[in-house]
Protein backbone atom coordinates (compact mmCIF):
# COMPACT_ATOMS: atom_id res chain seq x y z
CA UNK A 1 0.00 0.00 0.00
CA UNK A 2 1.25 3.44 -0.90
CA UNK A 3 2.23 5.84 1.86
CA UNK A 4 0.37 8.63 0.12
CA UNK A 5 -2.58 9.94 2.10
CA UNK A 6 -6.05 9.31 0.57
CA UNK A 7 -9.14 11.25 1.53
CA UNK A 8 -12.73 11.36 0.28
CA UNK A 9 -14.02 14.91 -0.22
CA UNK A 10 -17.61 16.16 -0.38
CA UNK A 11 -19.37 17.83 -3.31
CA UNK A 12 -23.06 18.68 -3.69
CA UNK A 13 -24.74 15.50 -4.95
CA UNK A 14 -27.26 17.33 -7.07
CA UNK A 15 -27.25 20.83 -8.50
CA UNK A 16 -30.51 22.43 -9.68
CA UNK A 17 -30.82 23.80 -13.20
CA UNK A 18 -28.36 26.70 -13.08
CA UNK A 19 -29.51 30.05 -14.45
CA UNK A 20 -27.16 29.87 -17.44
CA UNK A 21 -28.87 26.66 -18.60
CA UNK A 22 -32.39 28.10 -18.26
CA UNK A 23 -33.78 28.89 -21.70
CA UNK A 24 -36.42 31.36 -20.52
CA UNK A 25 -35.27 34.99 -20.51
CA UNK A 26 -35.19 37.25 -17.47
CA UNK A 27 -38.20 39.50 -17.76
CA UNK A 28 -38.35 42.24 -15.13
CA UNK A 29 -37.25 45.84 -15.65
CA UNK A 30 -34.06 45.27 -13.64
CA UNK A 31 -32.83 42.81 -16.28
CA UNK A 32 -34.22 43.95 -19.61
CA UNK A 33 -35.45 47.08 -21.33
CA UNK A 34 -38.24 45.13 -23.06
CA UNK A 35 -39.95 44.10 -19.82
CA UNK A 36 -43.14 45.67 -21.23
CA UNK A 37 -43.40 42.69 -23.61
CA UNK A 38 -43.73 40.34 -20.63
CA UNK A 39 -46.07 42.68 -18.73
CA UNK A 40 -48.32 42.73 -21.79
CA UNK A 41 -48.09 38.95 -22.09
CA UNK A 42 -49.18 38.57 -18.44
CA UNK A 43 -52.32 40.47 -19.44
CA UNK A 44 -52.90 38.07 -22.37
CA UNK A 45 -51.48 40.30 -25.09
CA UNK A 46 -48.77 39.16 -27.51
CA UNK A 47 -47.07 42.37 -28.57
CA UNK A 48 -43.98 43.57 -30.36
CA UNK A 49 -42.27 46.83 -31.23
CA UNK A 50 -42.89 48.90 -34.34
CA UNK A 51 -40.65 51.77 -35.41
CA UNK A 52 -42.57 55.06 -35.35
CA UNK A 53 -40.06 56.62 -37.72
CA UNK A 54 -39.71 54.07 -40.54
CA UNK A 55 -42.84 52.01 -39.65
CA UNK A 56 -40.92 48.72 -39.67
CA UNK A 57 -42.59 45.99 -37.61
CA UNK A 58 -39.84 44.27 -35.61
CA UNK A 59 -39.72 40.72 -34.21
CA UNK A 60 -38.40 40.06 -31.67
CA UNK A 61 -39.04 43.36 -29.84
CA UNK A 62 -36.17 45.86 -29.77
CA UNK A 63 -35.05 49.03 -28.12
CA UNK A 64 -33.38 50.34 -31.30
CA UNK A 65 -34.76 49.98 -34.84
CA UNK A 66 -32.08 48.15 -36.90
CA UNK A 67 -33.44 49.73 -40.10
CA UNK A 68 -33.17 53.43 -39.16
CA UNK A 69 -31.57 53.39 -35.66
CA UNK A 70 -34.53 55.21 -34.16
CA UNK A 71 -35.30 54.60 -30.49
CA UNK A 72 -38.81 55.88 -31.02
CA UNK A 73 -40.63 52.53 -30.98
CA UNK A 74 -44.21 51.71 -30.02
CA UNK A 75 -45.81 48.52 -28.70
CA UNK A 76 -48.36 46.95 -31.05
CA UNK A 77 -50.74 44.08 -30.31
CA UNK A 78 -50.35 41.06 -32.62
CA UNK A 79 -53.75 39.59 -31.77
CA UNK A 80 -54.37 36.03 -30.59
CA UNK A 81 -54.70 34.09 -33.84
CA UNK A 82 -52.20 32.76 -36.33
CA UNK A 83 -51.74 30.19 -39.06
CA UNK A 84 -49.42 27.20 -38.83
CA UNK A 85 -46.62 27.78 -41.38
CA UNK A 86 -44.48 24.72 -40.50
CA UNK A 87 -44.15 22.28 -37.61
CA UNK A 88 -42.37 19.24 -36.26
CA UNK A 89 -42.32 17.15 -33.10
CA UNK A 90 -39.38 16.80 -30.73
CA UNK A 91 -38.96 13.06 -30.20
CA UNK A 92 -35.22 12.76 -29.51
CA UNK A 93 -32.57 15.19 -28.34
CA UNK A 94 -34.45 17.64 -26.11
CA UNK A 95 -32.32 20.02 -24.01
CA UNK A 96 -32.16 20.08 -20.20
CA UNK A 97 -35.43 21.22 -18.69
CA UNK A 98 -37.46 19.94 -21.67
CA UNK A 99 -36.63 16.22 -21.59
CA UNK A 100 -39.68 15.49 -19.41
CA UNK A 101 -42.00 17.03 -22.05
CA UNK A 102 -40.97 14.70 -24.92
CA UNK A 103 -42.68 14.21 -27.32
CA UNK A 104 -44.00 17.71 -28.00
CA UNK A 105 -44.73 19.80 -31.09
CA UNK A 106 -43.02 23.01 -32.11
CA UNK A 107 -43.72 25.14 -35.10
CA UNK A 108 -43.62 28.45 -36.88
CA UNK A 109 -46.80 30.53 -36.74
CA UNK A 110 -47.60 33.16 -39.34
CA UNK A 111 -49.15 36.28 -37.84
CA UNK A 112 -49.53 38.95 -40.52
CA UNK A 113 -46.06 39.44 -41.95
CA UNK A 114 -44.27 37.74 -39.03
CA UNK A 115 -43.10 34.12 -38.70
CA UNK A 116 -42.84 33.38 -34.98
CA UNK A 117 -41.38 30.15 -33.60
CA UNK A 118 -43.32 28.61 -30.73
CA UNK A 119 -44.36 25.45 -28.92
CA UNK A 120 -47.61 24.01 -30.35
CA UNK A 121 -49.53 22.58 -27.40
CA UNK A 122 -52.35 20.08 -27.04
CA UNK A 123 -51.72 18.30 -30.36
CA UNK A 124 -49.83 15.34 -31.74
CA UNK A 125 -47.77 15.72 -34.92
CA UNK A 126 -50.24 13.59 -36.90
CA UNK A 127 -53.13 15.90 -35.93
CA UNK A 128 -51.52 19.01 -37.43
CA UNK A 129 -51.24 20.30 -40.98
CA UNK A 130 -49.76 23.38 -42.65
CA UNK A 131 -52.34 26.17 -42.66
CA UNK A 132 -54.11 25.11 -39.43
CA UNK A 133 -55.54 27.96 -37.35
CA UNK A 134 -53.79 28.27 -34.00
CA UNK A 135 -54.48 30.45 -30.98
CA UNK A 136 -52.31 32.16 -28.38
CA UNK A 137 -51.90 30.76 -24.91
CA UNK A 138 -49.76 32.08 -22.07
CA UNK A 139 -47.78 29.72 -19.86
CA UNK A 140 -46.54 30.67 -16.41
CA UNK A 141 -43.37 29.21 -14.91
CA UNK A 142 -43.18 28.32 -11.19
CA UNK A 143 -41.22 31.55 -10.59
CA UNK A 144 -44.07 33.52 -12.27
CA UNK A 145 -42.19 34.35 -15.45
CA UNK A 146 -44.43 33.94 -18.51
CA UNK A 147 -44.03 32.87 -22.13
CA UNK A 148 -46.24 32.48 -25.19
CA UNK A 149 -47.30 29.26 -26.87
CA UNK A 150 -49.99 28.37 -29.43
CA UNK A 151 -52.53 25.56 -29.69
CA UNK A 152 -54.77 24.27 -32.47
CA UNK A 153 -58.33 25.61 -32.25
CA UNK A 154 -61.37 23.32 -32.57
CA UNK A 155 -62.95 25.52 -35.23
CA UNK A 156 -60.79 25.44 -38.38
Amino acid sequence: MSKVKFEKIKRPEKIGLPFMLDFYPLQDEKNTRISQFFKNLKQGHLTTTKCKKCRKLLWPPRIVCPECLSENLEWVDLGVEGELYAFTEIRLGAPLGFVEDVPFCVGIVKIGSLLISTRIDDAKYEELKIGDKVRLKVVELPDRRVFYRFYKTKEQ
Binding site: L21, F23, Y24, P25, W59, P60, Y85, A86, F87, T88, E89, I90, R91, L92, G93, A94, P95, L96, G97, F98, V99, F104, V106, G107, I108, L114, L115, I116, S117, T118, R119, Y125, I130, F147
Partner: protein, 390 residues
Protein backbone atom coordinates in the same frame (compact mmCIF):
# COMPACT_ATOMS: atom_id res chain seq x y z
CA UNK B 1 -2.65 40.81 -51.90
CA UNK B 2 -0.36 37.78 -51.90
CA UNK B 3 -1.58 34.43 -53.18
CA UNK B 4 -1.89 31.84 -50.42
CA UNK B 5 -1.72 28.05 -50.36
CA UNK B 6 -2.39 25.27 -47.90
CA UNK B 7 0.72 23.08 -47.69
CA UNK B 8 -0.28 20.55 -45.05
CA UNK B 9 -3.25 19.02 -43.30
CA UNK B 10 -3.51 16.83 -40.22
CA UNK B 11 -6.49 15.16 -38.57
CA UNK B 12 -7.48 13.23 -35.49
CA UNK B 13 -9.68 10.22 -36.18
CA UNK B 14 -13.27 11.53 -36.00
CA UNK B 15 -15.80 9.67 -33.90
CA UNK B 16 -17.07 8.98 -30.44
CA UNK B 17 -13.57 9.08 -29.07
CA UNK B 18 -12.12 7.88 -25.78
CA UNK B 19 -10.10 11.08 -25.74
CA UNK B 20 -10.36 14.52 -24.19
CA UNK B 21 -10.67 17.89 -25.98
CA UNK B 22 -6.96 18.48 -25.59
CA UNK B 23 -6.04 14.91 -26.59
CA UNK B 24 -7.81 15.52 -29.90
CA UNK B 25 -5.87 18.75 -30.50
CA UNK B 26 -2.56 17.00 -29.85
CA UNK B 27 -3.40 14.21 -32.29
CA UNK B 28 -4.29 16.70 -35.04
CA UNK B 29 -1.26 18.89 -34.31
CA UNK B 30 1.13 15.94 -34.52
CA UNK B 31 -0.44 14.74 -37.79
CA UNK B 32 -0.29 18.28 -39.17
CA UNK B 33 3.42 18.84 -38.61
CA UNK B 34 4.23 15.32 -39.81
CA UNK B 35 2.53 16.19 -43.10
CA UNK B 36 4.98 18.97 -44.00
CA UNK B 37 8.73 19.15 -44.76
CA UNK B 38 11.13 21.74 -43.34
CA UNK B 39 8.60 23.28 -40.99
CA UNK B 40 8.29 22.87 -37.24
CA UNK B 41 5.74 24.33 -34.82
CA UNK B 42 8.25 27.02 -33.81
CA UNK B 43 8.24 28.40 -37.40
CA UNK B 44 4.53 29.20 -37.19
CA UNK B 45 3.97 32.93 -36.58
CA UNK B 46 0.16 32.94 -36.33
CA UNK B 47 -2.59 30.58 -35.18
CA UNK B 48 -6.37 30.60 -35.38
CA UNK B 49 -8.36 28.09 -33.38
CA UNK B 50 -11.83 27.17 -34.60
CA UNK B 51 -13.85 26.14 -31.55
CA UNK B 52 -17.60 26.60 -31.42
CA UNK B 53 -18.55 25.83 -27.84
CA UNK B 54 -15.60 24.82 -25.64
CA UNK B 55 -17.23 26.70 -22.73
CA UNK B 56 -20.04 24.16 -22.80
CA UNK B 57 -18.52 20.99 -24.19
CA UNK B 58 -15.17 21.11 -22.39
CA UNK B 59 -15.76 23.90 -19.80
CA UNK B 60 -12.83 25.81 -21.27
CA UNK B 61 -12.60 29.38 -22.44
CA UNK B 62 -9.62 31.33 -23.84
CA UNK B 63 -8.64 28.28 -25.83
CA UNK B 64 -6.31 29.70 -28.52
CA UNK B 65 -3.25 29.97 -26.21
CA UNK B 66 -4.07 26.55 -24.75
CA UNK B 67 -4.06 24.96 -28.21
CA UNK B 68 -0.88 26.84 -29.20
CA UNK B 69 0.83 25.54 -26.06
CA UNK B 70 -0.26 21.96 -26.66
CA UNK B 71 0.89 21.83 -30.29
CA UNK B 72 4.14 23.68 -29.58
CA UNK B 73 3.34 26.91 -31.40
CA UNK B 74 4.55 30.26 -30.01
CA UNK B 75 2.88 32.82 -32.28
CA UNK B 76 4.63 36.18 -32.62
CA UNK B 77 2.20 37.75 -35.09
CA UNK B 78 -1.49 36.89 -34.65
CA UNK B 79 -3.42 34.55 -32.36
CA UNK B 80 -7.18 34.24 -31.84
CA UNK B 81 -10.04 31.83 -31.49
CA UNK B 82 -12.72 31.94 -34.19
CA UNK B 83 -16.35 31.17 -33.41
CA UNK B 84 -19.07 30.92 -36.00
CA UNK B 85 -20.91 27.83 -34.76
CA UNK B 86 -20.62 25.08 -37.41
CA UNK B 87 -18.40 27.32 -39.58
CA UNK B 88 -15.84 28.10 -36.84
CA UNK B 89 -13.22 26.02 -38.68
CA UNK B 90 -13.66 27.77 -42.01
CA UNK B 91 -13.58 31.09 -40.15
CA UNK B 92 -10.14 30.06 -38.82
CA UNK B 93 -8.93 29.30 -42.36
CA UNK B 94 -10.31 32.63 -43.61
CA UNK B 95 -8.52 34.66 -40.94
CA UNK B 96 -5.27 32.76 -41.48
CA UNK B 97 -5.64 33.29 -45.23
CA UNK B 98 -6.24 37.01 -44.76
CA UNK B 99 -3.22 37.36 -42.51
CA UNK B 100 -0.89 35.62 -44.96
CA UNK B 101 -2.39 37.42 -47.96
CA UNK B 102 -1.90 40.86 -46.42
CA UNK B 103 1.61 40.13 -45.19
CA UNK B 104 0.69 40.31 -41.53
CA UNK B 105 1.74 36.66 -41.25
CA UNK B 106 4.01 34.35 -43.28
CA UNK B 107 3.17 30.97 -41.80
CA UNK B 108 -0.23 30.50 -40.18
CA UNK B 109 -2.03 27.51 -38.68
CA UNK B 110 -5.80 27.11 -38.71
CA UNK B 111 -6.84 24.31 -36.39
CA UNK B 112 -10.32 23.34 -35.24
CA UNK B 113 -11.52 21.15 -32.40
CA UNK B 114 -14.72 20.04 -30.73
CA UNK B 115 -15.44 17.43 -28.08
CA UNK B 116 -19.15 16.72 -28.34
CA UNK B 117 -19.70 13.66 -26.16
CA UNK B 118 -20.02 14.78 -22.55
CA UNK B 119 -21.48 12.37 -20.01
CA UNK B 120 -24.94 14.01 -20.17
CA UNK B 121 -26.54 14.14 -23.62
CA UNK B 122 -29.34 16.51 -22.53
CA UNK B 123 -26.68 19.00 -21.50
CA UNK B 124 -25.04 18.65 -24.91
CA UNK B 125 -28.41 19.33 -26.52
CA UNK B 126 -28.79 22.46 -24.38
CA UNK B 127 -25.46 23.57 -25.73
CA UNK B 128 -26.61 23.03 -29.31
CA UNK B 129 -29.94 24.76 -28.69
CA UNK B 130 -28.32 28.06 -27.72
CA UNK B 131 -26.92 28.47 -31.24
CA UNK B 132 -30.26 29.68 -32.51
CA UNK B 133 -31.41 32.81 -30.65
CA UNK B 134 -31.86 31.20 -27.24
CA UNK B 135 -34.47 33.64 -25.88
CA UNK B 136 -36.79 33.57 -28.92
CA UNK B 137 -36.12 30.31 -30.85
CA UNK B 138 -33.99 28.09 -28.58
CA UNK B 139 -36.54 28.54 -25.80
CA UNK B 140 -39.08 26.88 -28.12
CA UNK B 141 -36.62 23.99 -28.55
CA UNK B 142 -35.52 25.05 -32.01
CA UNK B 143 -32.11 23.45 -32.04
CA UNK B 144 -30.59 21.96 -35.20
CA UNK B 145 -32.94 19.00 -35.88
CA UNK B 146 -36.23 20.95 -35.50
CA UNK B 147 -35.17 23.90 -37.68
CA UNK B 148 -34.01 21.57 -40.46
CA UNK B 149 -37.14 19.45 -39.95
CA UNK B 150 -39.43 22.41 -40.67
CA UNK B 151 -37.16 23.39 -43.55
CA UNK B 152 -37.57 19.88 -44.99
CA UNK B 153 -41.32 19.98 -44.39
CA UNK B 154 -41.67 23.26 -46.30
CA UNK B 155 -39.39 22.02 -49.11
CA UNK B 156 -41.54 18.89 -49.45
CA UNK B 157 -44.70 21.04 -49.34
CA UNK B 158 -43.53 23.63 -51.88
CA UNK B 159 -41.48 21.51 -54.29
CA UNK B 160 -42.72 17.94 -53.79
CA UNK B 161 -39.38 16.68 -52.46
CA UNK B 162 -39.78 13.20 -50.94
CA UNK B 163 -38.33 11.42 -47.91
CA UNK B 164 -36.95 8.79 -50.31
CA UNK B 165 -35.00 11.47 -52.21
CA UNK B 166 -33.63 12.81 -48.94
CA UNK B 167 -32.66 9.27 -47.91
CA UNK B 168 -30.59 8.94 -51.10
CA UNK B 169 -28.25 11.67 -49.80
CA UNK B 170 -27.62 9.61 -46.67
CA UNK B 171 -27.05 6.47 -48.76
CA UNK B 172 -24.49 8.24 -50.99
CA UNK B 173 -22.58 9.87 -48.14
CA UNK B 174 -22.49 6.76 -45.97
CA UNK B 175 -21.20 4.88 -49.02
CA UNK B 176 -18.27 7.27 -49.41
CA UNK B 177 -17.57 7.47 -45.67
CA UNK B 178 -17.37 3.66 -45.58
CA UNK B 179 -14.23 4.11 -47.71
CA UNK B 180 -12.77 6.89 -45.54
CA UNK B 181 -10.60 5.71 -42.63
CA UNK B 182 -10.90 8.95 -40.62
CA UNK B 183 -14.73 9.04 -40.90
CA UNK B 184 -16.93 8.65 -37.82
CA UNK B 185 -19.40 6.26 -39.52
CA UNK B 186 -17.99 3.60 -41.78
CA UNK B 187 -21.05 1.50 -42.49
CA UNK B 188 -23.23 1.69 -45.60
CA UNK B 189 -26.97 2.29 -45.24
CA UNK B 190 -29.89 1.61 -47.60
CA UNK B 191 -32.92 3.81 -48.32
CA UNK B 192 -34.95 1.43 -46.13
CA UNK B 193 -32.44 1.77 -43.27
CA UNK B 194 -32.83 5.55 -43.42
CA UNK B 195 -36.63 5.51 -43.64
CA UNK B 196 -36.90 2.95 -40.82
CA UNK B 197 -34.42 4.60 -38.47
CA UNK B 198 -35.77 6.27 -35.30
CA UNK B 199 -37.64 9.50 -35.88
CA UNK B 200 -35.75 12.47 -34.41
CA UNK B 201 -38.06 15.28 -35.52
CA UNK B 202 -40.40 14.38 -38.40
CA UNK B 203 -39.81 14.28 -41.35
CA UNK B 204 -36.19 13.70 -40.23
CA UNK B 205 -35.07 10.31 -38.97
CA UNK B 206 -31.79 9.40 -37.34
CA UNK B 207 -29.97 8.67 -40.62
CA UNK B 208 -31.18 12.00 -42.05
CA UNK B 209 -29.03 13.64 -39.37
CA UNK B 210 -25.27 13.89 -39.01
CA UNK B 211 -23.88 12.38 -35.81
CA UNK B 212 -22.39 14.31 -32.89
CA UNK B 213 -18.67 13.79 -33.18
CA UNK B 214 -15.37 14.37 -31.40
CA UNK B 215 -12.59 15.58 -33.67
CA UNK B 216 -9.81 17.98 -34.49
CA UNK B 217 -8.10 18.98 -37.74
CA UNK B 218 -5.59 21.60 -38.81
CA UNK B 219 -3.97 23.11 -41.89
CA UNK B 220 -0.89 25.25 -42.52
CA UNK B 221 -1.11 28.29 -44.81
CA UNK B 222 1.88 30.02 -46.44
CA UNK B 223 2.36 32.50 -49.26
CA UNK B 224 2.38 30.86 -52.71
CA UNK B 225 6.00 31.86 -53.41
CA UNK B 226 7.17 29.80 -50.40
CA UNK B 227 5.21 26.66 -51.24
CA UNK B 228 8.09 24.66 -52.76
CA UNK B 229 10.04 24.79 -49.50
CA UNK B 230 7.36 22.71 -47.81
CA UNK B 231 5.59 20.46 -50.30
CA UNK B 232 5.22 19.36 -53.92
CA UNK B 233 1.46 19.06 -53.56
CA UNK B 234 -0.07 22.29 -52.24
CA UNK B 235 -3.63 23.50 -52.57
CA UNK B 236 -4.16 27.13 -53.59
CA UNK B 237 -6.96 29.27 -52.17
CA UNK B 238 -8.32 31.18 -55.16
CA UNK B 239 -11.71 32.54 -54.16
CA UNK B 240 -14.30 32.85 -51.44
CA UNK B 241 -17.80 33.98 -50.67
CA UNK B 242 -19.57 34.46 -47.38
CA UNK B 243 -22.99 35.88 -46.62
CA UNK B 244 -25.31 36.13 -43.61
CA UNK B 245 -28.89 37.39 -43.64
CA UNK B 246 -30.95 37.62 -40.44
CA UNK B 247 -30.65 35.38 -37.40
CA UNK B 248 -33.91 34.75 -35.58
CA UNK B 249 -36.34 32.55 -37.58
CA UNK B 250 -38.61 35.51 -38.42
CA UNK B 251 -35.76 37.39 -40.05
CA UNK B 252 -34.43 34.64 -42.33
CA UNK B 253 -34.52 35.58 -46.03
CA UNK B 254 -36.54 32.41 -46.70
CA UNK B 255 -36.91 28.97 -45.14
CA UNK B 256 -36.85 27.08 -48.44
CA UNK B 257 -34.49 29.17 -50.54
CA UNK B 258 -31.10 29.80 -49.02
CA UNK B 259 -30.50 33.30 -50.36
CA UNK B 260 -27.21 33.75 -48.41
CA UNK B 261 -25.90 30.57 -50.10
CA UNK B 262 -26.81 31.89 -53.53
CA UNK B 263 -25.07 35.19 -52.84
CA UNK B 264 -21.99 33.52 -51.31
CA UNK B 265 -21.75 31.25 -54.36
CA UNK B 266 -21.94 34.18 -56.79
CA UNK B 267 -19.17 35.91 -54.87
CA UNK B 268 -17.06 32.73 -54.74
CA UNK B 269 -17.33 32.18 -58.53
CA UNK B 270 -16.60 35.88 -59.18
CA UNK B 271 -13.49 36.07 -56.97
CA UNK B 272 -12.12 32.74 -58.25
CA UNK B 273 -12.92 33.67 -61.86
CA UNK B 274 -14.72 30.36 -62.41
CA UNK B 275 -18.28 29.21 -63.02
CA UNK B 276 -20.20 26.53 -61.13
CA UNK B 277 -19.45 24.18 -64.06
CA UNK B 278 -15.73 24.32 -63.22
CA UNK B 279 -16.30 22.72 -59.82
CA UNK B 280 -15.06 19.11 -59.76
CA UNK B 281 -15.47 18.43 -56.03
CA UNK B 282 -18.00 20.06 -53.70
CA UNK B 283 -17.49 19.30 -50.03
CA UNK B 284 -20.75 20.76 -48.73
CA UNK B 285 -22.49 21.02 -45.38
CA UNK B 286 -24.81 17.99 -45.24
CA UNK B 287 -25.71 18.36 -41.56
CA UNK B 288 -29.12 16.96 -42.59
CA UNK B 289 -30.15 15.25 -45.82
CA UNK B 290 -32.36 18.22 -46.77
CA UNK B 291 -29.31 20.52 -46.47
CA UNK B 292 -27.42 18.80 -49.26
CA UNK B 293 -30.49 18.84 -51.50
CA UNK B 294 -30.86 22.59 -50.96
CA UNK B 295 -27.14 23.06 -51.58
CA UNK B 296 -27.39 21.45 -55.06
CA UNK B 297 -29.98 24.16 -55.71
CA UNK B 298 -28.26 27.08 -53.98
CA UNK B 299 -24.92 26.40 -55.65
CA UNK B 300 -26.68 26.31 -59.00
CA UNK B 301 -25.89 22.65 -59.78
CA UNK B 302 -29.61 22.21 -60.53
CA UNK B 303 -32.76 24.31 -60.74
CA UNK B 304 -34.54 25.55 -57.60
CA UNK B 305 -36.78 22.82 -56.25
CA UNK B 306 -35.10 20.06 -58.30
CA UNK B 307 -32.52 18.98 -55.72
CA UNK B 308 -34.37 15.73 -55.04
CA UNK B 309 -34.39 14.83 -58.73
CA UNK B 310 -30.67 15.73 -58.95
CA UNK B 311 -29.71 12.95 -56.53
CA UNK B 312 -32.28 10.55 -58.00
CA UNK B 313 -30.45 10.97 -61.31
CA UNK B 314 -27.10 10.21 -59.66
CA UNK B 315 -25.64 13.61 -60.57
CA UNK B 316 -23.85 14.28 -57.23
CA UNK B 317 -21.99 10.94 -57.37
CA UNK B 318 -18.40 10.70 -58.63
CA UNK B 319 -18.80 10.47 -62.41
CA UNK B 320 -21.99 12.56 -62.32
CA UNK B 321 -22.27 16.28 -62.90
CA UNK B 322 -20.21 17.13 -59.79
CA UNK B 323 -18.76 14.93 -57.03
CA UNK B 324 -20.56 16.06 -53.89
CA UNK B 325 -19.03 14.98 -50.59
CA UNK B 326 -16.71 12.21 -51.78
CA UNK B 327 -15.35 12.28 -48.19
CA UNK B 328 -18.69 11.02 -46.93
CA UNK B 329 -19.67 14.51 -45.85
CA UNK B 330 -20.71 15.51 -42.40
CA UNK B 331 -23.31 12.74 -42.51
CA UNK B 332 -20.61 10.09 -42.70
CA UNK B 333 -17.46 11.75 -41.36
CA UNK B 334 -19.19 13.45 -38.44
CA UNK B 335 -19.57 17.03 -37.35
CA UNK B 336 -17.12 18.18 -34.66
CA UNK B 337 -18.30 21.80 -35.09
CA UNK B 338 -15.06 23.76 -34.87
CA UNK B 339 -13.10 21.21 -36.93
CA UNK B 340 -15.66 20.21 -39.57
CA UNK B 341 -14.75 22.72 -42.30
CA UNK B 342 -11.07 21.94 -41.83
CA UNK B 343 -11.60 18.18 -42.25
CA UNK B 344 -13.38 18.95 -45.50
CA UNK B 345 -10.67 21.32 -46.73
CA UNK B 346 -8.13 18.56 -46.04
CA UNK B 347 -10.33 16.16 -48.02
CA UNK B 348 -9.91 18.36 -51.11
CA UNK B 349 -6.14 18.51 -50.50
CA UNK B 350 -6.04 14.69 -50.29
CA UNK B 351 -8.11 14.40 -53.47
CA UNK B 352 -5.68 16.67 -55.33
CA UNK B 353 -2.81 14.51 -54.04
CA UNK B 354 -4.62 11.32 -55.06
CA UNK B 355 -4.27 10.22 -51.46
CA UNK B 356 -7.72 8.62 -51.04
CA UNK B 357 -9.33 5.20 -51.57
CA UNK B 358 -9.86 4.51 -55.29
CA UNK B 359 -13.57 3.95 -54.66
CA UNK B 360 -13.99 7.61 -53.78
CA UNK B 361 -11.24 9.22 -55.85
CA UNK B 362 -12.23 12.11 -58.10
CA UNK B 363 -9.60 11.64 -60.81
CA UNK B 364 -8.18 14.74 -62.43
CA UNK B 365 -9.99 17.17 -60.15
CA UNK B 366 -8.67 20.72 -60.51
CA UNK B 367 -11.19 22.80 -58.55
CA UNK B 368 -12.81 21.95 -55.21
CA UNK B 369 -15.09 23.98 -53.01
CA UNK B 370 -15.53 23.69 -49.28
CA UNK B 371 -18.93 24.96 -48.15
CA UNK B 372 -20.16 25.34 -44.59
CA UNK B 373 -23.33 26.81 -43.12
CA UNK B 374 -24.29 27.75 -39.59
CA UNK B 375 -27.30 28.47 -37.40
CA UNK B 376 -30.65 28.28 -39.15
CA UNK B 377 -28.73 28.30 -42.48
CA UNK B 378 -28.69 32.10 -42.25
CA UNK B 379 -24.92 32.13 -42.83
CA UNK B 380 -23.02 30.38 -45.64
CA UNK B 381 -19.29 30.30 -46.38
CA UNK B 382 -17.50 28.97 -49.46
CA UNK B 383 -13.78 28.51 -50.10
CA UNK B 384 -12.59 27.81 -53.64
CA UNK B 385 -9.50 25.60 -53.78
CA UNK B 386 -7.33 24.87 -56.82
CA UNK B 387 -4.65 22.32 -57.58
CA UNK B 388 -2.77 24.90 -59.65
CA UNK B 389 -1.94 28.52 -58.81
CA UNK B 390 -4.06 31.17 -60.56
Amino acid sequence: MRQVAIVAGGEAKAGRRAASWRDLVQEAGKALFEDVDNLSPKDVDSIFVGAAQPERFAFLSYVAPLVAEYIGVTPRKVIARTELACVSGQAAIRYAWNCVATGMSDIAVAIGVEKMYPPDMAEAQSTMACVLDREWDGVNCFSAPPIFAVTAQRHMYEFGTTKEQMALVSVKNHHYSSLNPIAHLQKEVTVEDVLNSRVVAPPLSLFDCCPMTDGSAGVILVRAEDVKKYTDTPMYLIGSGQCAIGNVINNLASLTEWVPLKLAAEEAWRTAKITKDDVDIAEVHDCFTISEIMEYEGLGFCEKGKGGKFIEDGEPYIGGKVAVNPSGGIMGCGHPLGATSIYHAIEILKQFRGDVDRGRYVKGAEIGIQHSLSGAANQHSILVCSREPR
